[in-house]
């Protein structure tokens, strides 16, 4: 069918600068660039361009610039270009609109309406370059109190604590499955997590044998497809996470098309090569909270109560009550993924319209668990679009124990957020199983970039903590007095449990 769609982008090639080295040609998996065999010049077909910026970035003479196509449609406030293009696309294909990454819609980002406190005069700020500054965090269920006895003149702990995950900084890499992303990406996360004393999460695609050696820093996921779940998988991990939902697509399952199920994915997921990997929307053995409890305890039994069990849900309207139920069902960790959480593939309408912002979810869940006196019984992990150390420290002040970094980790490794993960043609070698593309993600480099990011953000958090006169992260956790709202309504402030800036 003749397409009514205009290209989204324009590619400008500065012929003075172009040295016809062909980097752009070889690097574009969407075949945008090609050599004109008549004169050796290079031409570009922008209709295929997804603006991943691979060519722009690698062009050694910076001969390429990408511009948004200025006038793709006669937009107005209601009928935006995006809306029109979606309709044309669907009129041409009859299909559900697919997309990748996180929600791009302009829902309020509360992080940008929350400001942090700092000490002045009456309270010295602490310089993390001179004084200890502690970010260490333990995730897991804590008792209300500890019992200590004195035996033979020395103190002894009588209370047996539930298993905990030790984090040297309050970050984890989000669940991203082998299949959604390439092996190298997982290896990079595993190595960075190991180096930085944090954790990565397998997602629901199993754990490749070669990554078992990073098990101590690995959280393995048990999702509705149960891919790759077996004894060794559970044994290899530091913790097990039951995935109920995902912020980018609450209420729906996953679908890895058969063409991405090559030998590696097939082996790891334990499904035949070439078959579609379908994760059902619900777990078919969890139709209620008591079913969840059974699975939690099955997994605890299977791992002999040596590993914390996490339950991950999407932040939806009654997230606080659900989280409370999950804690009471026996989870050691509740992971909440907000509406800006990313994905390898999701129906656009769902990604863009279902769920609630993570800020509100953290605040609601933390308060609810406190109201019920069970906040200590589970750690709260927050996920969904964390962009900076400032977002993270604010999340912690709202009540999160630590945060999952998905998109930020991918961006650190090179992702340019073109949202075409679902095509499997990721030019950055991230969301692909194509061996020609996959090798672009050098795990050595990617691991270093991740470690650098974690290092940088840790340090920024230390600086901000020190500024507040705090030298241990637990003194900020849930300490909403260090936050003030700017430009928020009373309702929003009430839900966030934060005062407006100006109120002392």
């Amino acid at each position: 069918m003749y397409t009514l769609l205009q290209p989204d982008f324009r590619i400008k090639r500065d012929e003075e600068r172009c040295i016809r080295c062909g980097v752009c040609v070889r690097q574009c998996a969407f075949d945008v660039h090609s050599v004109d065999t008549d004169d050796g010049s290079i031409r570009s077909d922008e209709s295929k361009c997804v603006a991943c910026q691979r060519c722009e970035t690698l062009c050694p003479t910076r001969a390429l610039t990408l511009e948004e196509n200025y006038h793709v449609a006669n937009e107005n406030y209601n009928w935006t270009g995006g809306v029109l293009k979606n309709i044309w696309k669907q009129a041409e294909t009859g299909g559900v609109l697919l997309t990748g990454m996180g929600n791009p819609r302009p829902y309020r980002i509360y992080w940008d309406h929350l400001v942090l406190n700092a000490s002045q005069v009456t309270n010295p700020s602490i310089d993390p370059l001179r004084e200890p500054m502690e970010l260490r965090t333990y995730l897991g269920s804590k008792p209300d109190s500890v019992e200590v006895v004195k035996e033979n003149g020395s103190l002894k702990l009588k209370t047996k604590l539930a298993p905990q995950l030790r984090l040297d900084a309050p970050f984890l890499f989000s669940a991203m499955s082998l299949g959604a992303i390439g092996y190298n990406v997982q290896e990079a996360m595993a190595r960075a997590a190991t180096e930085m004393g944090i954790y990565w999460n397998t997602g629901e695609g199993g754990l490749h044998k070669d990554l078992y050696k990073y098990g101590k820093n690995t959280i393995v996921q048990v999702a509705s497809g149960r891919f790759g779940v077996y004894k060794d998988y559970l044994d290899a991990a530091a913790a097990v996470e039951i995935k109920i939902g995902q912020g980018a697509k609450p209420g729906i399952g996953g679908h890895l098309p058969g063409e991405k199920v090559g030998d590696l994915v097939s082996m790891t997921r334990m499904i035949p090569a070439g078959t579609d990997a379908l994760s059902p929307a619900p777990h078919h053995d969890i139709y209620s909270i008591e079913d969840l409890s059974q699975l939690i305890y099955s997994l605890k039994e299977a791992t002999e109560y040596t590993k914390p069990v996490s339950v991950k849900i999407a932040a939806v309207h009654n997230v606080a009550a659900i989280a409370s139920g999950i804690v009471r069902a026996g989870a050691d960790i509740v992971a909440i993924d907000g509406i800006r959480g990313g994905t390898g593939a999701a129906p656009t309408m769902i990604r863009d319209n279902v769920g609630i912002p993570i800020e509100l979810a953290i605040a609601a869940v933390d308060q609810r668990l406190r109201d019920e006196g069970i906040r200590n019984r589970a750690s709260i992990l927050a996920a969904g679009g964390f962009r900076s150390s400032a977002d993270i420290i604010k999340a912690i002040a709202l009540g999160a124990d630590a945060v999952y970094l998905g998109t930020a980790a991918l961006v650190a490794m090179g992702c340019h957020v073109c949202q075409k993960c679902y095509t499997g043609k990721c030019n950055w070698g991230i969301a692909t199983q194509d061996p020609y593309l996959e090798r672009r993600l050098n795990p050595d480099i990617a691991a270093e970039r991740l470690s650098n990011l974690i290092h940088a953000w840790s340090h920024e958090i230390m600086e901000m903590l020190g500024g507040m006169g705090i030298n241990a992260i637990e003194s900020l956790r849930g300490n909403r007095l260090h936050l003030r709202g700017v430009g928020l309504s009373k309702t929003e402030l009430d839900i966030l449990g934060v005062r407006h800036a100006g109120a002392s």
Binding site: I19, G22, R26, P60, Y436, R440, D444
Partner: protein, 144 residues
């Protein structure tokens, strides 16, 4: 001695190694001039057969066939290790091209000279290695 090694598993066939090699061996050292005016040849070959690719440079052999074959003495094995090429002595007989088991010597046909990797002797790290965006080339001492 330190040699250049390609790491095939992460070579992504961008061939920027060749671009920066040529630039580094140009008179101007300007990437655009080097290619659009001077037309400098890279001192390496990128082999490619999707999905695999890698760069091949002179291996600076311990017993270099090229040196032993060179009819003019333009190629010599230095005590420090590198196989040194004196361009002014080369007459373009291509015997070294026939002899090099790595296929690492390029013919500069117009000038009747060969071009081969000199490890960017004046730099701390060869240009191809320094500019590889994916660290698919390393410059290091291994074993021998």
């Amino acid at each position: 001695m330190k040699r250049i090694y390609a790491i095939e598993s992460v070579c992504m066939n961008c061939q920027l190694c060749a671009v920066f090699c040529a630039t580094g061996h140009s008179r101007s050292k300007d990437i655009i001039k080097a290619h659009n005016r001077e037309k400098v040849l890279p001192r390496l070959f990128v082999e490619e057969k999707r999905p695999v690719s890698f760069a091949v440079q002179c291996r600076h052999c311990d017993e270099p066939f090229c040196v032993q074959s060179c009819i003019t003495g333009a190629l010599t094995k230095s005590l420090e290790g590198p196989v040194v090429y004196a361009e002014e002595k080369c007459v373009g007989c291509w015997t070294c091209v026939a002899a090099c088991p790595y296929g690492a010597i390029r013919r500069d046909v117009d000038r009747k000279k060969i071009a081969k990797c000199d490890l960017c002797a004046e730099l701390t790290e060869p240009a191809c290695v320094a500019n590889c965006p994916n660290q698919a080339l390393v410059y290091e001492e291994r074993g021998s």
